[in-house]
Amino acid sequence: MKGMTIIVKTISSWVKVLIFIFGIYIILFGHLTPGGGFAGGVILASSYVLLMLAFGGDFVQKDLPLALDSKLDCLGAIMFVMIAILGSVFSGAFLANFLVDKYGAPLELLSAGTIPLSNIAIGLKVGASLFLVIFSLSICHKGAELDGE
């Protein structure tokens, strides 16, 4: 896939950073304002999709190789399961919020126990996996070898 004109490239390389930061904001403030891990993760993915559309697939491959992307996907999922299992280790029940009341006061950024951590894990997972699938779909027709074996 070839890239677009220089104007589009320049603008989207700036806009991409803004979208990325906005996605991180949505994830981190998920327990206080509308949004959360899922919406933020989709926004993270869309920033890379924008980059892919503007610069072409090969450019993004250098920035975020598919192998790394697929590992990030697994990593996010494992993080979430680990939070769940740690709940049963520290608090005696699967998925228990074992960090609640340990830090922060209500309505502050650092509060709500494991909820922000879960948001980060989900955001990572969703962002990586959605980018993975869109990228796979876009290189599919070129006959390129996917990250199989």
């Binding site: 304002t33 509308p34 959360g36 899922f38 006061a105 209500p106 309505l107 969703v126 959605l130 699938v133 796979s136 779909l137 599919c140 027709h141």
Partner: protein, 122 residues
């Protein structure tokens, strides 16, 4: 009455998924059905002149830890919203899988028309 319109949307999606013979149209029908169910769930929790289930500083007293009665008595139902969030994600996942299958079938058969894709007898 809004419920009935929502159900009409569901039925339109069902009609599209059952009757159309283009694979992408079938996928679109399923998307419409999904949207209708999500909308229906959120509508179940709506309250006239309600407020969104998010506590901001106007409703919260940090000193006593009390939540204002204006929030407790007027908030819309948060539970269906949580369910819909889950079901939207499920919908996106199945959309991705379905479109992948569609694209591969198009590669193999060169068409989206399910009446021409008949290697298997039903």
């Amino acid at each position: 009455m809004p419920y009935a319109l929502c159900f009409l949307l569901f039925v339109i999606g069902l009609y599209c998924a059952v009757v159309k013979k283009n694979m992408v149209k079938i996928v679109l029908g399923i998307l419409i059905m999904e949207c209708a169910v999500n909308l229906f769930l959120v509508m179940l929790g709506y309250r006239h002149d309600g407020v969104a289930p998010i506590i901001d500083r106007a409703y919260y007293d940090p000193g006593t830890g009390q939540i204002a009665a204006g929030f407790i008595n007027n908030s819309v139902d948060p539970l269906p919203q949580a369910l819909v969030l889950t079901s939207i994600v499920i919908g996106l996942g199945s959309l991705a899988l379905m479109i992948s299958i569609c694209i591969r079938i198009y590669e193999k058969y060169g068409t989206f028309d399910i009446t021409q894709i008949r290697r298997l007898r039903g």
